[in-house]
Symmetry: C2
Subunit: 199 residues, 2 copies
């Protein structure tokens, strides 16, 4: 790709990241971005339809990276135990990636909100639940449709990310992965320290 294109898009991206530290996406104009990026306003429109499409493309890029990592770890586990052990490093890896992209991640969650990002993650979960759940698990009768569980898993996943961002990303990816597993396996009350139905 033309070096000028690479440079321009990089400057647009940096301009947005910089502006987002000052104000919300909604009130940022194309003019703001191009001023900050030191490019002509018309040039912006050579690359993106509008500021919303720009953000969508950033989201798409990030999600593709995440998905790529997630798919690397896909494997057939024939027992629950193997399943748990093979998933943990995948989650850790994903959180490492998110840590590298924290500015963009924060912006995407704040602006595009839960749903667009969550929808993508949900679909990935649906795929994984359909194709990558150990045989022993899928012998169980599902109490709820798989779409609901995927929705729920993605909401949980994003909640952990949200918590991470709100607490200034102090936790390590390993700690986060642990949190995800705890809640996924034990449920909120279980993670709270209360085992279900034991008293």
């Amino acid at each position: 790709m033309d070096r000028r294109v690479v440079k321009t898009r990089k400057e647009i991206r940096n301009a947005l990241l910089s502006l987002m530290e000052e104000k919300d996406f909604e009130v940022i104009t194309v003019l703001d971005i191009t001023k900050r990026a030191n490019i002509n306003r018309g040039t912006f429109y050579l690359h993106y339809v509008d500021k919303y499409e720009m953000l969508e493309k950033y989201e798409q890029e990030l999600f593709e990276k995440l998905e790529h990592v997630a798919m690397e770890y896909l494997q057939d586990d024939d027992t629950m135990d193997k399943f748990l052990h093979s998933r943990y490093p995948a989650i850790v890896h994903v959180f490492h990636l998110l840590q590298e992209e924290q500015e963009l991640l924060t912006i995407l969650l704040k602006t595009r909100g839960f749903f667009s990002f969550q929808d993508r993650i949900k679909n990935t979960f649906i795929y994984m639940f359909r194709n990558n759940i150990p045989f022993k698990v899928s012998e169980h009768p599902f109490l709820y449709p798989i779409e609901f569980l995927a929705l729920f898993a993605s909401a949980m996943f994003i909640s952990v990310i949200q918590y991470w961002i709100q607490s200034d990303m102090k936790q390590t990816p390993e700690q986060l992965a642990q949190m995800v597993w705890d809640i996924f396996l034990k449920g909120p009350m279980g993670a709270f320290g209360v085992l279900p139905f034991t008293e």
Copy 2:
């Protein structure tokens, strides 16, 4: 309150609800709203600063109703069992209210997204966790900070609502309350039909 004010605000609200069936909030203009509402554009600004403040106020109203219902059911339960039984009707009641307000609810979740709505719900959960958890539960060591659990509970709650809307609100409030409890107590995997650590 002046009948004209009541009438105007009602027409603005209906206009928005009507327009949202055709296009997203972002592309709806004040002009669109006032045309549909058959009022002067200037009149809109006598009531709201802009379209965003308008939506915030709608959200505020809905949330206050929800909170009011939730608080009605607050009581001191000294056992886990009493706690579970006293909470269930509260959740059912909340879902009934949400069913009545389904158009607005759908718009708020689609537009304002997860976060603003979730933040309010989260804070309510924090309050309830702090003040309304049976004594026996709070004897347990908390594995995670209460803010995280409140965040998570609110995400779960909204996920159920999301699922409800996506499936055209076919489920009854009672079924939804059951789902919430299932996941809250058993966790996603447990609700999936897999008991944790049993194999």
